[in-house]
């Protein structure tokens, strides 16, 4: 079983449109399990229309709650808190659940034992079925922490099912950025596909995404989305990838069919199979899939 993660660094470069097309194209050959690891802003479901089979609460972390009755107002909790989460008004100390990191330092330091930790319901994760295969996805409630843990949770569930039922591929639609949820999404991947945009920001953030995959020793390929938007930018990405020895697996031209497919709630390869973007996505999938299944992936 192989694991492919789709990343970008910069948001909005087209990760989810690529992932949805891959889900469709993979269904023709190897059976894939789909994972939406962008738990902050999960959009893959808008293109794959999953039917939810199981819904589970995700506990996430805990937050400190100060008992106003037994609190003597010494303020030690406020002094030890490094997250600026304890506030005093008119002698009453309160912990701000949004700022609280859940470290419990105040619980251990309170001389009156007036603080306890309260579990938070941070979101849900789902096991679903789509016409392209099983899907694991999640929804983190706004303002919640632990998105990395939730990403790890949905990926674990996908891997377990993949091993139980002998699936060849786990396809992970990753979050933007390079921080905590991205690191959880990259962990254990056999290949990362970075969807880059030929813009000043897109090129800059692609480099940071590639540095992240190198750091975690996950081999990477790049695809350039909206490649004809700015040719010099596209050339710059190709030159950078050549220097770094990263294969450019494909280029997707700017194509309004991609947005139309989003409005219709379909992968573009289903919505308009002959559209220029769909042709490019099929070529891209072939290259990525053959690298995954047959390629000599370099974990150096």
């Amino acid at each position: 079983m192989k694991q492919l993660v789709i990343l970008s660094g910069k948001g909005g470069t087209g990760k989810t449109s690529v992932a949805a097309a891959f889900a469709h194209l993979a269904a023709n050959g190897n059976a894939a399990i789909l994972v939406d690891a962008d738990v902050d802003a999960a959009n893959l479901e808008l293109l794959l229309a999953p039917e939810v089979l199981e819904s589970h609460e995700f506990g996430g972390g805990q937050v400190a709650v100060i008992n106003e009755v037994s609190c003597e107002g010494c303020g030690i909790c406020k002094d030890v808190c490094r997250f600026d989460a304890v506030h005093e008004a008119d002698g009453v100390f309160r912990a701000d659940p949004i700022a609280c990191d859940g470290c419990a330092a105040c619980v251990y330091q309170c001389p009156e034992h007036s603080i306890h930790m309260q579990p938070q319901m941070a979101g849900h994760w789902y096991r679903s079925t789509t016409r392209f295969g099983p899907m694991f996805h999640a929804a983190l409630r706004p303002a919640q922490e632990n998105s990395g843990k939730l990403v790890t949770m949905v990926k674990q569930q996908a891997r377990l099912l993949a091993m139980d039922e002998s699936y060849d591929l786990v396809l992970v639609d990753g979050p933007p950025g390079i921080g905590c949820p991205v690191i959880s999404a990259v962990a254990g991947a056999d290949l990362a596909l970075i969807v880059a945009e030929p813009t000043a920001s897109g090129t800059h953030d692609m480099r940071r995404a590639l540095q992240t995959t190198v750091h975690f020793r996950v081999p990477a390929m790049v695809c350039i989305n909206k490649s004809d938007l700015y040719h010099l930018g596209s050339d710059e990405i190709e030159a950078y990838c050549r220097t770094e020895g990263i294969p450019v697996a494909g280029k997707i031209p700017f194509d309004p069919s991609v947005t139309e497919a989003i409005v219709q709630g379909q992968p573009v390869t289903v919505f308009r199979p002959r559209a220029p973007a769909s042709e490019a996505l099929r070529d891209l999938w072939e290259r990525v899939n053959s690298e995954l299944m047959e390629g000599d992936l370099d974990h150096a």
């Binding site: 959009n43 419990a104 303002a143 030929p198």
Partner: protein
């Protein structure tokens, strides 16, 4: 005043709006400070081209255990909520990548065997744009999961006179790095695009601003692509649409080269100063009533 520019979905044009709003206000003679809080993917410097001449390292304080003093009782491991310090066979081990730097283990250790040592998370840089507008951004180290301390240190790094307008360029999403970026903002501009993706993530962003109790308005970028879902949602939930930036492929190609919206289309200078006046009126009005 602090105006944060945020969005649920990435790539909707946060930096495009934030940089041009800041430039328009600076050109109109106002004191402006720009804080790029998207420390995982900081891009505003590519458009504003500040002369960065100030640098600060951002560290997290992580525990170091003196094995000569440690008796291996595991009090620290019990207190740590993140499994970043554990006791195995009488030995105490630290896992720096799991540590949140809360200091709880140091405080609870009965033998005072723990000292705290700095571990790099990233760095901050600041400078001026064309000798005027203040600019600062944070850059998270590669492979480092924790963006929040870099953002909070960036926001606390330098202080500004009351009259300064701070423009906070937030990361995408709706979880902890966004919360940290938005903390203390007077108003949030939510940038979206008129597609089902844009709408889905706008709803989350609106919920977040409501939870944080910060007033928010919407800017629809790439107006004309997609559908009318965002318009309907905004109308039904009483979220004002303050501006629309029509989709224009030529404009997109110019932004791709690192040009700003106000440089490519100077009529936006007036639109952005008007937008600021509008936000100020909304806040003054709610302030006088509240």
């Amino acid at each position: 005043m602090v105006i944060a520019v945020a969005s649920g979905k990435g790539g909707t044009g946060k930096t495009t709006v934030a940089t041009s709003l800041a430039l328009a206000l600076a050109e109109s003679g106002r004191q402006v400070a720009y804080l790029d809080c998207d420390v995982e993917a900081p891009n505003a410097h590519l458009f504003l081209r500040p002369a960065l001449d100030n640098y600060k390292q951002v560290d997290l304080l992580i525990p170091e255990v003196d094995s000569d003093v440690c008796t291996g009782r595991g009090v620290c491991a019990e207190a740590c909520q993140f499994h970043a310090i554990v006791t195995l066979g009488g030995k105490t081990l630290v896992f720096p990548e799991l540590c949140h730097g809360c200091g709880s283990c140091t405080l609870v250790c009965p033998e005072k065997a723990i000292t705290e040592i700095p571990k790099s998370l990233g760095h901050l840089e600041s400078g001026r744009v064309n000798g005027g507008m203040f600019f600062a951004h944070g850059v998270l180290d590669i492979g480092e999961p924790m963006a929040v301390p870099v953002i909070s240190q960036l926001k606390d790094w330098q202080s500004f006179p009351q009259s300064t307008i701070s423009i906070v360029d937030s990361p995408p999403g709706a979880s902890c790095p966004v919360v940290e970026s938005l903390r203390g903002a007077d108003y949030v501009l939510l940038i979206t695009e008129p597609t089902p993706f844009g709408l889905h993530d706008l709803r989350l962003a609106v919920q977040l601003t409501q939870e944080l109790n910060i007033p928010a308005g919407v800017i629809v970028n790439r107006d004309g692509i997609g559908d009318d879902g965002v318009d309907i949602y905004c109308r039904e939930s009483n979220v004002p649409i303050l501006m629309r930036v029509p989709f224009d492929r030529e404009l997109g190609a110019n932004l791709a080269q690192g040009k700003t919206l106000v440089a490519v289309a100077p009529e936006y200078k007036q639109r952005f100063t008007d937008l600021y006046s509008h936000i100020k009126a909304i806040l003054d009005d709610s302030g006088s009533r509240g």
